[in-house]
Structure formats: C-alpha cells, structure tokens
C-alpha cells in the first residue's frame, strides 16, 4: 500500500461523511422532501451522469467550466457528472413528462460534483434538495416557491432565517434603457455585484445617481421598495420593480414573521434566471442556505425553482440530539428487543456475554441499557 492509501487521503474538496453527520444530513434531506411532498411535489431521480450536451443544453452553459467530464466507453461520447440538478429536472419535464398537465411540480435530492469549490464552499461534492414548478411564469408561482422555502427553513428549525429577493433582469434592463454598450453594462453589473460604489460611479457617468440609488436599494423589504419606486427608472425596469413590489406585499401578507430583504442590484449567480429570484440566509451562518427563482426550462418553458444546499443548511441548524440507543446484553430474549424496536427505540445487541454490562454499554456509546426487563440510563461519560 502507498503512504496515501494507508492514511485515506482524499482528493481536495471531497470528504467522508461519518456518524452522526451522515445520518443527520439524510434525515434533514428526507424532512425537506416530505415537506415538498405535502405541497404536492412529486419526486424525480435523474442519473448522476449523462451526456455532456444534454447537461449543458440551454441554461446549463454557465456551469460548463464546473463539470467533470468522462468518456463513455460504450457510446464513445462525452459524459458529464452533474454539477447541478435543476437542469436535469428541467430536461425530464420537457421530454418524458412533456404531456403531464402544467403546472408540473417536481422535487429532487442528490449529490452534485463540481470541478472547483468556491471560496466559501471548498467542497466539490455536496448535496442539494429542491423543487421545480414548471410551466408557469406568474407571481403566484414565485410566491409559492418563496413560501415553500420559508416553510422549509421554519419547519427544520433554522434560527433567524431570512430571504433576500432580487430581480436579476433589472440591471440589464436598466443598462439597456440607459443605452449602455455591452462592455459598459458588464462593468456596471460587476460593480453592482460587489456593491462597489466607487467603480460604479466611474462606469455610470451621468447615470450615477440612478445606479448608485439602485446600489443603495438593499435591505429590509418595505423601505427598499419605497426607495426603488422613487427612482427615475426607464419603463421596462419600472415594470419589473412594480412586479417585485407586488411579490413583497404578497409574501409579507402570507408570512408576516418572515425576515424579508430586497436587493435590487444583485446579478451574480443568477445568470440563468429570467425573473424574480431569491437567496436564503440565516443570521450568523456564512454563505447561502439556498436560492431559487424564475428561469426558462429547456430554454423555452417558464419555471420557478428552489434549491437548498445541505451543507450550509446543516451548519445553520442546532446540532441534533444523540438518539437513544439501548444496549441489549447477550442473551436478552429476541422478543424483548423486537418490542423495544417496535416502540421506536434503537437497540444494540451485545454479541458476547460481559461481566460489567454498564461498562460495555458505555464503551459502545449506548445511552441506555436493558436489564431485568427495564431500560436503565447509562451515564455516557
């Protein structure tokens, strides 16, 4: 064996999930999907790998540089490991489920693999869970996705969640309205993404007051919407702001306790979105818990999606309580063990007789032990 294989060194960005985290991630994933199912979302399971060109079709292009590729020895065609699941669900909707009535509600969960981690998420493999609401491009669909996200975070018990709404089409529309050429529009967009007031002012020229106003339009929803409505926006951008305002009102009416913020100038990371989008945060947790928004499925059919990132989500959740685990000393009647398990206990069967049952239970990290027909607590220390 080599030095590396001895020590189990893994490639950068890949890791082993160990107890109890591995089970915790699976349980949180299942709870998310159960929540989606309660809202009528049906689960799909796309494959881990598929042909490169189908993964990259339509809105997949921005992920091209993030995709692991391998040659299919059978078809001799290039395959890609999915860097994201949304696009696969969109593909399912437009092919195999194209005759299903719209709106089509699908959910999914699975692992994705990326060539490079990001600064905040060095992991190259991580789990996603989410939904796609396909075939409609209405405010009602946006509202459903945002509320589903809010419900998911609340039901999981994420402390202090907040949702940030954005309209990634607003800045491009504004740049068009102002007559910016492509290079200038991109410079303005980059500056807005960094909320870099100095660079933005330099790019904007005469439009500086307007663009700086947009940059400042980030924060608690109601005051920001008031600021946005006060800006002298071109007609196309004004209509987008009005739509965003309606969504804010509807979300606030439906979920008055939700911490809702608006950031009108955000674009980065929403390149394939075509309408109102949102990002999920939790106070004190670095990075995003998830994001969603409106896009074109297969480049044609409107859809709204929501994706949660399990790794950040788990960071946001309080650590799970260790489950009760009852040690059954060797010789415990099988029926007694069955009864305990039927009552919802987890049991751990001792295989050989031991002198000190309590010490053995402690050694195997059991919280309880079964003796004389009774469950007794074991001090784990």
């Amino acid at each position: 064996m080599t030095e590396y294989s001895n020590k189990g060194l893994l490639p950068a960005g890949l890791r082993d999930g160990l107890p109890p985290q591995a089970e915790w991630e699976a349980r949180v994933t299942e709870r998310l999907l159960e929540g989606f199912a309660r809202h009528g979302y049906q689960r799909v399971k796309p494959p881990l790998i598929e042909f490169e060109e189908t993964l990259l079709a339509a809105s997949g292009a921005p992920l091209a540089s993030q995709m692991f590729r391998l040659m299919d020895p059978i078809s001799q065609r290039m395959m890609g490991v999915r860097p994201d699941i949304t696009l696969q669900v969109a593909r399912i909707a437009e092919t195999r489920l194209k005759d299903q009535p719209r709106p089509l509600r699908l959910s999914y969960a699975g692992q994705v693999l990326r060539v490079r981690g990001s600064q905040l998420r060095p992991e190259r493999q991580f789990a996603q869970a989410g939904i796609e609401l396909i075939g409609v491009a209405t405010l009602a669909a946006d509202l459903e996705a945002v509320l589903l996200a809010a419900v998911a975070l609340v039901e999981l018990g994420v402390p202090n969640p907040s949702i940030d709404l954005t309209q990634p089409m607003l800045v491009p529309a504004l740049c068009r309205g102002l007559g910016f050429d492509a290079a200038r529009a991109e410079a303005a967009r980059t500056a807005l993404d960094h909320k870099d007031a100095a660079s933005l002012a330099a790019v904007a020229g005469e439009a500086a007051p307007l663009l700086l106003g947009l940059l400042a339009a980030a924060g608690p929803a109601s005051p920001v919407m008031a600021v946005l409505k006060g800006l002298a926006l071109p007609p196309e951008a004004r209509a987008m702001v009005a739509e965003l305002g309606r969504l804010v009102e509807e979300v606030q009416a439906a979920a008055p306790d939700l911490a809702l913020t608006v950031d009108a100038g955000e674009y980065r990371g929403f390149e394939y979105h075509t309408g109102i989008s949102f990002t999920l945060f939790a106070r004190g947790v670095r990075g995003e818990l998830g994001r969603g928004g409106r896009y074109l499925s297969g480049g044609e059919e409107p859809a709204t999606g929501l994706t949660l990132y399990l790794d950040s989500l788990l960071r946001a959740l309080p650590a799970p309580e260790a489950p009760r685990l009852v040690f059954l000393p060797a010789g415990t009647p099988r029926a007694a063990g069955r009864k305990l398990r039927a009552a919802g206990h987890r049991t751990l069967q001792g295989l050989d007789p031991v002198a000190d049952v309590r010490a053995e239970a402690r050694r195997l990290a059991c919280s309880h032990m079964f003796r004389d027909g009774e469950i007794e607590e074991v001090d784990r220390k």
Binding site: L120, H194, A197, G219, T261, R286
Partner: protein, 221 residues
C-alpha cells in the same frame, strides 16, 4: 440606530492606512479601548465603547479574508486587495477616499527606453498580486508568469529575478530610488469600507446603519 447584542467585529488593516482610518472610525462614534493605541500591547482584538463591537487589527490582505468568511462583519480594505481576491461575499459600498495610490507595472528605466509594451506576448513579473496581474495581462493578450513576493518587489529587477514588477506606487520615490519607471497603470487604489454579504442580508438594519453612519462622516468631511 437599531442594534442587537450580537457581536459585530470590525477588521482594520495594520500599518500606514490605520492612521488614516482611525479618525473616520472615531468620528463614526466608535472608540477603541486605550490598549489600541499602545504600541506595546500584545492584544489582537480590542473592545470598544459599544459593548458588542470589537476591532481586530490584521494585515491588509487578511481584512478581505476575515470579512469574506464572516469572521468580521465590517472592514476597511484597499481595492487592490479586493481585486486580487475577487471575493463574491465582500461588498464594498463606500469609497473612503484614503490610502490613495496606484497599482502599476514598472520596469528598469534602461529597459523602458527600448521596450514596446505593445509587442509583449509573455512577461515575467514579480508581484504581491498574482491574481490581478494575470487577469490584467490576459485581458490584453499577454501571458504573465508571476513570481509571488510579499515585499521589496523593487529589488527583483536589479537582482535579475525578473525584469518587471507589479506593485503599489504612491509617490514613486521607491521606484525612482531603485532605477525603475512606471509603464502602465492597472488600477487606481483607495481604501473602501467593506461588509460581509450574509451579514448585510441578515442584519440589514444594523450593518446598513453603520454604512450610512460612515457615509455621513464622509459627507461631513
């Protein structure tokens, strides 16, 4: 201003810029504990007159990293550092207008007399900013081979490490003293107030309040 009792950490760059930053911090109503101004103090984190706000003093490059990872919610960093890292999680909402300098390409005066930058296809450059340097040259079709140094870039050409450097220039005196001249400007640099993205999203009233407070301080100056 709405405040919470959650800790708020402000990361400030050590060194020259700090003298220019502190008056702004104080005018915004944040007064660090006396040990902050004591050169003999070994403290790294300082309490302030606001019970939940503390200040950390770190290297200028590390300010951006602390803020990007949310270890500090607010910081002061030059846009040279922001350009180098291009952190998506760092917002730079205010130009503080201090620490003015330029990020420059420089080479020996002697070389400059015959050199035509328009003919470059490959350059070897000593710099503290390999990221910016590579992107800058790539954008103009030149492949840049960067030698990462952490200081005294000006020495590199005279000792034959490479012929060109990319470094910050404020007065140009150091360049001149080492027989170097400016070739091209990559960026004009000033210090920016930076904030962590997630902190601004999840504590919008508080973090946004501090941004406005600093804006008022700048407007009043």
């Amino acid at each position: 201003m709405q405040t919470s009792n959650e800790p708020l950490v402000i990361a400030l760059p050590k060194g020259r810029i700090l003298d220019e930053v502190m008056p702004l911090i104080r005018r915004a109503g944040i007064e660090p504990e006396p040990a902050f101004d004591d050169p003999g103090s070994r403290l790294l984190r300082f309490a302030t007159n606001h019970p939940h706000i503390s200040i950390v003093r770190v290297r200028s490059f590390d300010v951006a990293t602390f803020v990007a990872f949310g270890a500090a919610q607010i910081g002061v960093a030059g846009n040279d550092v922001l350009l180098e890292f291009d952190y998506a999680e760092v917002y730079a909402p205010l130009d503080l207008g201090i620490g003015r300098c330029r990020l420059m390409v420089a080479e020996p005066a002697e070389l400059r007399r015959t050199d035509d930058p328009g003919r470059w296809s490959h350059v070897r450059v000593a710099t503290k900013y390999p990221g910016v340097t590579q992107r800058y040259f790539a954008a103009r079709g030149v492949q840049a081979e960067c030698i990462k140094l952490n200081g005294a870039m000006e020495l590199a050409p005279s000792l034959g490490l490479c012929r060109r450097i990319v470094d910050l220039v404020s007065t140009g005196a150091t360049l001149k003293a080492n027989g170097l001249v400016e070739v091209e400007t990559i960026a004009h640099v000033t210090s920016r107030l930076v904030v962590n993205r997630a902190a601004l999203k999840t504590r919008p009233a508080e973090v946004g309040g501090w941004i406005r407070r600093f804006q008022e301080v700048l407007d009043a100056a």
